[in-house]
């Protein structure tokens, strides 16, 4: 096995979660990289959907934005933005939403809006964009986020997107149709919600990562599954496919 970086392990672990043929609503950045890796390896029939209205995009290059021309050129269909959100997402046709965020809490709620106070922000982030309704309406949601006490926080500065709200029953009370956040893939391992408490629980660590490392990178007292798994390192094939994914400018530069 050749060497690899923690970020590469995170991308590979996230890609493995996607099953072939799934319809996947993809956020830009690391989720898009992982989803394209899945399509290049074990899930060639994975349907990539971007919020620009491109359904079934099959880009050769990694898009820089969710609306790069290559997404439209390679799509099965291009629909308007009102249609993608109303008919396809809210219509309940998407299997999995694939999101990033700036902060996450123990119930999988996400902040992508602001660090500090909303009216006097320390850092104004881009905002929720498509994420709130993606997490509400996709059948399930995966989140990718590097794990540290600054990102895995006891209390979000702002709840942009609902995972499990305040705990069991919250999604049902809010009328959300999807199952919520079913996996959080970090650079240290994978967290999944406890079936009863909905609290994110460490169910798998990446090779070489200890439970103590994961605990100290979490801003709340991290629950650890009794049957804690250790993930498989990236295969040669996965690493080669991941490293071959480049944006057009990376390829030209």
């Amino acid at each position: 096995m050749t060497g690899y970086e923690a970020g590469e392990m995170m991308a590979v672990a996230a890609a493995r979660r996607l099953r072939d043929g799934m319809a996947c609503f993809v956020g830009i950045g690391s989720p898009s990289r992982a989803a394209n890796l899945a399509r290049a390896t074990h899930a060639p029939r994975c349907v990539l959907i971007y919020e620009s209205g491109t359904i079934g995009a099959k880009p050769k290059h990694l898009p820089l934005s969710i609306g790069d021309g290559e997404l439209a050129e390679t799509a099965d269909a291009v629909v308007s933005v009102p249609e993608i959100f109303a008919y396809w997402l809210q219509g309940g046709r998407i299997d999995v939403g694939f999101l990033g965020a700036a902060q996450i809490d123990r119930f999988g709620n996400l902040n992508s809006t602001v660090i500090g106070d909303y009216d006097r922000p320390k850092v104004r982030l881009p905002g929720g964009g498509g994420a709130p309704e993606i997490a509400a309406s996709c059948k399930e949601t995966f989140v990718m986020l590097r794990q540290s006490p600054r990102t895995f926080v006891p209390k979000l500065d702002f709840r942009s997107t609902v995972g499990f709200g305040d705990g069991p029953g919250a999604r049902e009370r809010l009328g959300f149709t999807g199952a919520g956040v079913t996996a959080v893939i970090s650079d240290l391992g994978v967290l999944e919600p406890d079936p009863e408490s909905c609290e994110l629980t460490l169910t798998s660590v990446h090779p070489g990562v200890t439970v103590d490392e994961a605990r100290s990178a979490t801003g709340w007292e991290l629950r650890v599954a009794d049957a804690l798994a250790t993930g498989e390192p990236p295969s040669e094939g996965e690493l080669a496919a991941l490293r071959a994914l480049k944006t057009v400018s990376e390829e030209n530069g």
Binding site: S65, P82, G175, T177
Partner: protein
């Protein structure tokens, strides 16, 4: 029938200080040339509406053209922050900026309601988020099932501005590729302006295209290259290198101001703007 006039005339006639103005285009076909003309003509106090503020609104906000922003995602796609937007929100520079923030689904619903001449649109969204208490949204009970849903007030801008690939000599417009919310903003706005890459004798039908009849548009103006650094499908690609470079230009107030003077304020139109970039290297 749409008047075919110059972009300079169109902005002078259609857009007044203090109005609600939406420049749309979802990553694709962003009407940069029209935004630059707003800057050159010194519009102030605008309420700017746009799902993804992007570089175009970073420029308008950084020059103090706006007092309020209605939006759903304010970043430089794939790159990071919009530094001029952040400076306005975090430090009130050059002028304070009021925010009305939505989700993408909420804004798309609000535009569609505007085009349909309804007072509000309905969706499953916002509930349980902190945004719900911070924005213009209300819970509404379905009269048939009792389900609680969210209502968003419709978007009816004073002026809606979009960019398209083609118009014909009667002002009928055709755009294709990623079509975003362009149809909704043109039909929902009180007055509308479409800038185009070219004016052709006759529109040739394209798969997946939107055609906007000239009688539904107020004005059409020719602006070849007018989406740059965004793109026009079939004409030129997205200038991704520019978006990356914008991070450096926009980070510093002085570098930003000098760049805007050199490439926008001191140029007369989109042709001079494009030539100024070639002369200076891609984005000097």
């Amino acid at each position: 029938m749409a008047d075919i006039i110059t972009l300079k005339e169109a902005i002078a006639e259609l857009v007044e200080d203090g109005q609600v103005v939406a420049l749309e285009g979802f990553t694709h076909l962003i009407p940069h040339a029209a935004g630059h003309e707003l800057v050159r003509q010194g519009r102030r106090g605008l309420t700017l509406v746009r799902m993804t503020p992007d570089v175009i609104y970073d420029q308008l906000i950084g020059l103090g053209c706006a007092r309020k922003l209605i939006f759903s995602w304010g970043g430089n796609p794939g790159v990071g922050s919009l530094h001029r937007l952040r400076d306005a929100v975090e430090h009130g520079w050059p002028v304070p900026l009021e925010l009305e923030e939505h989700s993408h689904a909420g804004m798309a619903t609000a535009y569609a309601a505007g085009a349909a001449n309804l007072p509000f649109g309905v969706l499953r969204g916002y509930r349980g988020t902190d945004l719900e208490a911070r924005t213009r949204v209300a819970s509404i009970e379905c009269p048939f099932t009792g389900e609680l849903l969210s209502a968003v007030p419709s978007l009816r801008p004073d002026v809606g501005i979009v960019h398209a690939q083609q118009a014909d000599e009667q002002g009928n417009v055709q755009l294709w590729g990623i079509t975003g919310v362009q149809k909704e903003v043109v039909l929902g706005a009180r007055r509308s302006l479409v800038t185009v890459e070219e004016i052709v004798p006759e529109l040739e039908p394209r798969p997946g295209a939107i055609v906007l009849p000239g009688w539904a548009i107020t004005a059409v103006a020719l602006a070849p290259g007018g989406a740059h650094p965004s793109y026009a499908h079939g004409y030129y690609d997205r200038d991704n290198a520019f978006y990356v470079e914008w991070d450096r230009i926009s980070r510093d107030r002085d570098v930003f101001s000098a760049w805007m003077k050199r490439h926008v304020l001191d140029t007369a139109d989109v042709g001079e703007y494009r030539r100024s970039l070639v002369g200076a290297g891609a984005a000097a």
